[in-house]
Symmetry: C2
Subunit: 316 residues, 2 copies
């Protein structure tokens, strides 16, 4: 496919499907979304993707034949080279030949990659990625995911699982169980920690804000609590930033990376304050010397990273 | 240069220079070593390398013109693409154009790389590396070094410092100061920890074995103490193995690696017992699933890894 062609990008999640049409110049010409409804089965999901994309093409006034291909970011474990979703729990798919099936139905070439990887690819090419040919993207939300670009290519690794920085360990003695970065610093983990601390009588504005239903805490509320200088929220977020900063320092030390992009729902809600704290921990732990020059910045594309990255992938 | 050519490999250390001639079939035809004597200056060191190599060629009965080139593993920070040693503290070199200068003196093409990287390259091509196109090598000795092969090539990273697994952090709350893997698990760190524990009245056979001069502890003595089931030595080594195992699990989780090779003076002295302990920690911490299939094995080439890897590098 030509580097400059029009392509479609699809961000396929367990709940929603987002899609967009990317121009040769890298602009989103049109964008729309729909529910995934995974329980209706794979065929129904594929039909919804095709219908969504047809609507986008119509809205943009672009003919089907002028589109060079479609890229899809899918959740779970993928065999990218074969275009197969090995296992996607929230779609209930196993060994599903997504690229082939969707390609037949959409009547265009389809390439697929992991949803986190396409987000990283979007940021690398059209977002915050500006330095050199290697990049780590870290997305902090409900969980913590990561994508790696090495030598100007998405890097998948031997078992197609590369980038899982959320499953690395930086504080081996932090508590019992799996003491991964995700288990210490994702939004879910932060909320659990806040619940635990409030149960042991730490006061917090969050009790009032959630009317005692702490399960209601989402990224925006947590960000609000930090802004209000709620001591508990500040401490929990600072700890999470420290853990993420060390994990990023480890990756940069191992791979000698020129840039790291931090995104995801929690990071976006928290803004520059979180990036600053992550940077402080990074600076304390990275291998001293040149690596301090590594850029560590917030993502630029936000929610569009997946759609744009997937569409860019279809240009290859 | 032809893939099958005769090449020279040089392992340039702060104390010793090792060199060897590698056959087209990957056999070391001859091998020798000499003192580095870095205090005599760079020119003198280069002359010693050339003299050493000339002697090796003579011993092997090989003509200078039949050698396709020389690979050198050098310590410190290198710009591999320019063939320059940026800084090598123990050689007292700064911005030294090693490849060019040595190439002129030896009258053959010279390529250089980091000493740890050439060791990793040797193990990857001619040693314990057998799985796929990606590999991490970890060398445990006085310090802890690492080298990465990604997509069948030595990976240097943007700042030419990739592979520094010894400078990653897996136990952020372990003690004050930089809490890196090297600071917790290298031979030096283990000896310091043993000294500290003995000072606080932990009994150990090592007091008797060193006649109280614990600074005498080297890898072989430590291995002997573990073999004798000296409780202090066993505990210190087990802790170090845990730390290294977690660091390796982090690297494999991030990079989805099919294989890890563990070498270095301490690892060789300790043998399979150490690998087994590292593997146990690895299994507890690696991202569950396919990554448990990652091979984790002892190095095969021992001291020859550097020389063989450097010679292989000269084939490129």
């Amino acid at each position: 496919m030509a580097k400059s062609a029009l392509t479609l990008g699809v961000d396929l999640g367990g709940t929603n499907i987002q899609a967009g049409l990317l121009s040769a110049e890298g602009k989103l010409l049109a964008r729309d979304s729909t529910k995934t409804k995974a329980d209706e089965g794979a065929e129904a999901v594929l039909k919804r993707i095709v219908k969504l994309c047809d609507g986008i093409l119509e809205a943009a006034g672009v003919d089907h034949d002028d589109v060079a291909g479609m890229g899809v970011g899918a959740p779970g474990a993928l065999d990218v080279s074969k275009g197969v979703v090995i296992e996607a729990v929230n779609l209930r798919w196993n060994d599903f030949p997504l690229a082939k099936k969707l390609g037949e139905m959409a009547e265009m070439p389809v390439v697929i990659d992991n949803d986190v990887n396409v987000g990283a690819w979007g940021e690398y090419h059209a977002g915050a990625g500006t330095e050199g040919q290697d990049m780590l993207a870290v997305f902090i939300g409900t969980g913590i995911g990561g994508g790696l670009i090495i030598n100007d290519r998405l890097y998948h690794g031997h078992f197609f699982t590369a980038g899982e920085i959320g499953h690395t360990t930086v504080a081996a003695h932090a508590s019992i169980g799996r003491r991964t970065v995700e288990n210490l610093a994702s939004r879910n983990s932060m909320v659990l920690l806040i619940q635990k601390l409030i149960m042991s009588n730490h006061p917090s504005w969050l009790v009032e804000a959630t009317e005692g239903d702490l399960g209601k805490i989402r990224s925006k509320l947590l960000a609000q609590a930090v802004k209000k200088q709620d001591p508990l929220a500040v401490e929990v977020v600072a700890h999470a930033a420290e853990v993420v900063g060390i994990a990023i320092a480890n990756a940069v030390t191992l791979l000698s990376l020129p840039q790291v992009v931090v995104g995801g729902g929690l990071a976006e809600a928290m803004g520059d304050g979180l990036i600053k704290r992550i940077r402080e921990a990074f600076d304390r732990h990275v291998f001293p010397g040149e690596l301090k020059k590594c850029k560590l910045v917030a993502s630029k594309l936000g929610d569009d990273a997946g759609v744009i990255g997937a569409a860019l992938l279809a240009r290859e």
